[in-house]
Symmetry: C2
Subunit: 508 residues, 2 copies
């Protein structure tokens, strides 16, 4: 039971609790950087036994709660360990922790200026600066959303509201069903390798997943612009209305960048909104090498909206995602509803442009990271990741039983199969029938993957693509990854896992 | 510029930075509880001058970044000050800060179990426990969403997908436009005093804001169930399909609770989904008094989905919002798309049921608050707020120039006008014409409100309702609010502000 004294003495109580957190946290971070296990893996049933997850009637106070905090640290993934390479985000860094800590203390809300003045201006400035980096010019602006899917959803809603404002009030009823509509069935175009949030956005909007046209990709996993145009023409001929083209800057599985500039030309020609889903690769714009030499994001300034997640490639704690646009006042114009009780007409009341109300001031986190590391330091982080992925690709290529899915790797993911020596001849036979190859090789990868992940030494992922067998997808992101120490060791671990499997006895 | 040494020694760097944060944070919290100013108010133009909001090419490192952090604390709203009574959230508490700090350190993601095992089970357990409190039984489950609007949106999407699954694939094309559809124009029913996120959800879904039928309220701001039924019948007669009824548990402006049990009977009769938007008042279920005596949330267990924001009434840091349901596996069944690369078939991979992908483990925050304070301690927080609001209502009633909008106050908001003594006679005349009264009195409130808020001693809000003039809306939430010290002083401040305005010279 909490006394009034405690309630009224927050500073004293916080002082005590912060001191207690300090050592636990530093210890946790040390264990991560010293490569203690990535995770002390437990199944749900085992974890329920290991940790008391009951919710009490009476408060457990400081001691009881700190026992639980300790357990949470012990049984969670230690993302400070560079061998956590499972997802597109990595562990964060000291300024990342500080920024979450600060947000917790402030408990601000970026819906209206007067309750979060500094945090609001940080959002204004950082979206403007990102827009400038992307080449969107002086009027660039944007909004933070709770994740890349939410950003892509906001972009699609905004495009629809902007292009066909009648849908806002009367709803979506296209031609030929509604002969008076100024649009036919709305269609979305995106590459076959795009993130599934594009499908989910179309589903949410009531367009249906069938409204999403998947454009085939070339050998580098990029959208084929010639086929895009052809598919748009066919759609128009059917009386539909292509309205939204999504180019992916850094696909989820392979890391491919769609050719934004040429896609933009098609978008202009057919009056489509051009959105770029740069949730994963968009942050690469911070790298001078990417901007000026590799040119992967060339044409970004031509996009009508662009999603970028600093919580992925830039090491900012999750969630930190934004949509930026070159169009002035786009979001409030497209999305505002009269909510007089909240918005009293201040253009800095950013919430008016969102599809929500209260909003976490996530902009602070990229703002502080940018201040701390500089554009230059963040760019170096990207360069380091790209170089490490390239070096790792070399390592994989050199090892006998490994087979790269794409060579060279396209970005920061390295994707490969492992063919156990004992099965080499069989694999050659399987490959003659793509379905057999897919089924058997997928099973091999799943078995190896489970062994590697449950060891606790690494967390990596497996992924599907087109009709290929599943493969290992290793994401290089954390600046603390060491190619030989960590990535060489991963390949060793896969080899060891294979040695411990009696492949000839396994039914594949 | 950051050296490799620093990058590879996160623990040492974090140690230094946390020590530096410690004193600044404790100082900030102390200033809040000692009633230093709520905000050192600056307009955007002034704030740009006071704080360096430039984003540098080269990193500013620890010193430069801490200057900015100091500025951020100095010019932000100090929500630890109980006189921040402007919004439905208040400042947080020590365990709230600790929970954000911990989330920053973990940098977890609640889309799949294996990257956030403990955090996933916390989400499973806390939504189940909340569902039980609401009376939803053993199968209760839920998901956390980034805010109440997002929760309400998820509820509406889920209802639509569950009731009319064909919309997921082929899109929303209702009768009579599509004679083969199993539904007419989909209609949403909600009270005239509901939160605007219901309108935004209908807008996002492509139903259009016209699909939202606003049911009139009674003298206690509650939805009129007789009129609800009548409006549903009329809608059916027009060939439309009423599908979603939203009951509000704690309206945004007045704090009214719609009668859930009787609304549920109507929902059942007409095969509608019953959603309860308890973003504000839902957490009151933690109070035994509310559950067993006041009965405001009676019938909650009959809802198909229920939104609750612990970041409002329970003092958990923003964002912390959930939707709970009695229906087993509802969210994945209704909302999943095949995303093979991410979801490998584990029922604990909660992301499958969301409309997003990566997701912040916000469940940890209410879990830790519950562990720390107990159900009982959280319930006491609610009781304290309700009692303080009632005492404050008494104070307002006693003062001559104040006029309550509702007496007694309905929940934790106290709403009133202030009539300057000099204008008493005029106000009597204005009241004869509702439009004149609304325009003039609104102007009076706006002028007083600006004075009070810009003083920095208080932050309070003004709000509109129906055709009434705007009024002060004071939200009682923080357990540190003292009725006489803080709320009496607020009334004094309004009186003082009025004294400093030469009302007879102001053009109203």
């Amino acid at each position: 039971m909490v006394s009034n004294k405690e309630i009224n003495n927050n500073a004293a109580e916080l002082d005590v609790m912060l001191k207690r957190m300090h050592d636990m946290v530093i210890q946790h971070v040390k264990e991560g950087q010293d490569l203690h296990s990535v995770v002390n893996y437990r199944s749900p049933a085992e974890l329920y036994k290991a940790v008391d997850l009951g919710l009490p009637e009476q408060g457990a106070g400081v001691d009881g709660t700190f026992d639980l905090i300790k357990n949470t640290l012990d049984y969670s993934v230690n993302s400070w360990n560079p061998r956590f390479m499972d997802k597109l985000y990595a562990g964060t860094n000291p300024i990342g922790v500080i920024s979450e800590f600060l947000l917790g203390v402030l408990n601000g809300n970026c819906h209206v200026y007067h309750v979060s003045p500094v945090l609001t201006l940080m959002e204004v400035e950082v979206t403007k600066a990102v827009g400038k980096l992307l080449g969107m010019g002086e009027h660039a602006n944007g909004l933070f959303c709770p994740g890349g899917s939410a950003s892509n959803l906001l972009a699609m809603v905004t495009a629809r509201n902007y292009l066909y404002p009648s849908i806002k009030t009367t709803g979506y009823i296209p031609r030929p069903f509604n002969p008076n509509a100024e649009y036919g069935k709305l269609k979305v175009f995106t590459s076959a390798h795009c993130h599934y949030s594009i499908d989910k956005a179309a589903l949410v909007l009531g367009l249906g997943t069938e409204s999403v046209v998947k454009v085939p990709t070339n050998e580098k996993s990029q959208m084929r612009v010639d086929v895009l145009e052809q598919l748009i023409q066919e759609s128009i001929e059917r009386g539909e209305t292509p309205f939204f083209i999504n180019a992916t800057a850094g696909t989820t599985v392979m890391g491919a960048f769609d050719p934004i500039r040429s896609i933009s030309a098609v978008a202009k020609k057919y009056n489509c909104w051009l959105h770029v889903d740069g949730s994963w690769g968009g942050s690469a714009i911070f790298s001078e090498t990417v901007r000026e030499k590799l040119g992967w994001l060339d044409g970004s300034g031509l996009a009508d909206s662009f999603t970028m997640n600093p919580h992925k490639l830039l090491g900012v704690p999750l969630q930190c995602s934004m949509v930026v646009t070159p169009h002035e006042m786009l979001f409030p114009k497209a999305n505002t509803l009269a909510a007089d009780y909240l918005f009293h007409g201040n253009p800095y009341d950013l919430g008016a442009g969102t599809i929500g109300c209260g909003r976490r001031p996530d902009a602070l986190k990229i703002f502080l990271a940018w201040k701390f590391y500089g554009r230059d330091g963040l760019g170096q982080r990207i360069d380091r990741a790209i170089n490490a992925a390239s070096d790792f690709t070399d390592l994989v290529r050199e090892r006998k039983q490994f087979e790269l899915v794409t060579d060279p790797s396209l970005f920061c993911q390295v994707c490969f199969w492992y063919v156990p020596k004992e099965l080499e001849e069989q694999v050659k036979t399987w490959k003659k029938d793509p379905q057999v190859w897919k089924a058997k090789m997928t099973r091999i990868i799943h078995l190896l993957h489970e062994r590697v992940n449950h060891s606790g030494d690494f967390l990596v992922d497996h992924a599907p693509l087109d009709n290929l067998p599943h493969f290992f997808r290793i994401v290089i992101n954390a600046p603390t990854v060491n190619v030989h120490r960590d990535l060489g060791a991963l390949l060793d671990a896969i080899e060891d896992a294979s040695k411990n499997i009696a492949w000839n006895e396994v039914s594949l």
